[in-house]
Amino acid sequence: MGSLRGFYGSMVGKKVVMGVTGLIGVGFVILHSLGNLLVFRGPAAINSYSHFLKSTGELLWALRIVLIVAVILHVIAAVQLTQQSRAARPIAYTKQERQVATVASRTMRWGGALLLVFIVLHILHFTTGTIKPAGVFSPDDVYANMVTSFRIWWVALFYVVAMLALGLHLFHGAWSSVRSIGVSPPSPQPLHHRISLAIALLVWAAFTAVPLAVVAGIVR
């Protein structure tokens, strides 16, 4: 227990927690975004996929608990590290020019906060059906839930904006997680990360395609 406290008490230890939980999230969003594409094969395909997931019972709940714990640890570590880093420079520069920091790396904190809000609303919207922007929700008809919701322009817009934040978060997070947990091999160009870009583009495109397809009337 003492060594665990020593591990998490260090900023490097917190970064390792962020890296591991982040990679769990990366794996989840890849599978989730690919699963969503079943909507293009019609109501039967995605509804039976949803039914299959729910039929796994305890396994589904085990996965959900892993994901919820990962999100909670990720957020707690992020908040603590942000506070420490802000405190580390009490007097700001009059002028500071970023040389290589990307839009993605610079929006990790605010983009992450937006994603947390999105995750909560998204679960209340499509998983529990607590929030019904379209006024109707059927736990067995995922296809209808998607189509009726995304026909409302501001719901579609919220999802599209959140997915931009997700894409940026993934672009920086996917490769930096691997570095934080110390497994990335040395590279002559450590800031050069094509696999991360590919993951970010794939997940962003797959997630964004669904609301856009509903708005465009391709999925109806």
């Binding site: 970064k15 880093s85 405190a87 420079r89 009059t94 002028k95 020019e97 970023r98 920091a101 497994v183």
Partner: protein
């Protein structure tokens, strides 16, 4: 050439500071940036004003004493050099130049542009050394070290401890500095006995000194006058994890 300088002036550690505007006139493009400041200081002295305090020593890029945030960039616009090797030809006549001290809670301002960087010394004291007796030159030659390890260790050992990585980091993190030392000693056979303990103790000291955490923006390696790679940070984290979770015995 003529320049307008905006310089941070602060009389002492507790005194309030502010940016003050100076005109640097008749500056030769062949001067180094520090020589330009010498000229400005001479004229200030002639006028009976207090000259601008700034750190400098070897003026040939090897001691790590000079610093300065120049137009928002640590060590100025020249890549892979310290401020002493930045020349005025990197600027244009009529330019406005902002000159500020390194900013970090761990680097308190002593006066004007000089800051106290002893936090970095304390990180070295925590573990940046080896205790194995290494013998004389011929003894060193009897210990075989793979060429790749020698090269990578030497690249990391090039760190001059100037603190530009901290200054440039949006989080004021000293990860690149600490990681360079962990990498330099951890790659060589003489550094093995204390390899994991070194990583733990240097990382713990880095935390105690109130530096920020690494978010891998990459600003540190861009600012580093010795162009040390942030690959070293991955290696430091790896040694830290191994030391904390498995133990510090090599």
């Amino acid at each position: 050439m003529n320049l307008t300088l905006h310089v941070w002036r602060q009389a002492g550690p507790k005194a309030p500071g502010k940016m003050v505007v100076y005109q640097a006139t008749d500056i030769s493009p062949d001067m180094s940036f520090l020589e330009m400041l010498d000229v400005v200081n001479e004229r200030l002295t002639e006028r009976g004003e207090v000259p601008i305090a700034f750190d400098h020593d070897c003026r040939e890029g090897i001691c790590g004493m000079c610093s300065l945030m120049i137009n928002g960039v640590a060590h100025g616009p020249m890549k892979g050099t310290a401020t002493c090797q930045l020349h005025m030809r990197s600027f244009k006549d009529g330019d406005t130049v902002y000159i500020e001290p390194w900013r970090a809670r761990a680097f308190p301002v002593i006066k004007d542009l000089t800051v106290d960087r002893s936090a970095l010394d304390r990180i070295i004291q925590a573990g940046g050394f080896i205790t194995a007796p290494t013998g004389g030159a011929q003894d060193a030659n009897t210990i075989l070290v793979p060429k790749e390890s020698v090269e990578s260790a030497m690249d990391a050992a090039a760190c001059i401890g100037c603190g530009a990585c901290v200054a440039a980091c949006p989080n004021a993190s000293a990860s690149l500095f600490t990681a360079a030392k962990v990498t330099h000693l951890g790659l060589l056979p003489q550094g093995q006995p204390e390899r994991y303990r070194r990583a733990l103790e240097m990382v713990d000291q880095m935390d105690l000194e109130n530096f920020g955490s690494c978010t891998l923006h990459g600003e540190c390696q861009e600012a580093c006058p010795k162009e040390i790679s942030m690959d070293t940070i991955t290696r430091m984290n790896r040694d830290f994890i191994r030391g904390r979770l498995i133990g510090t015995r090599a």
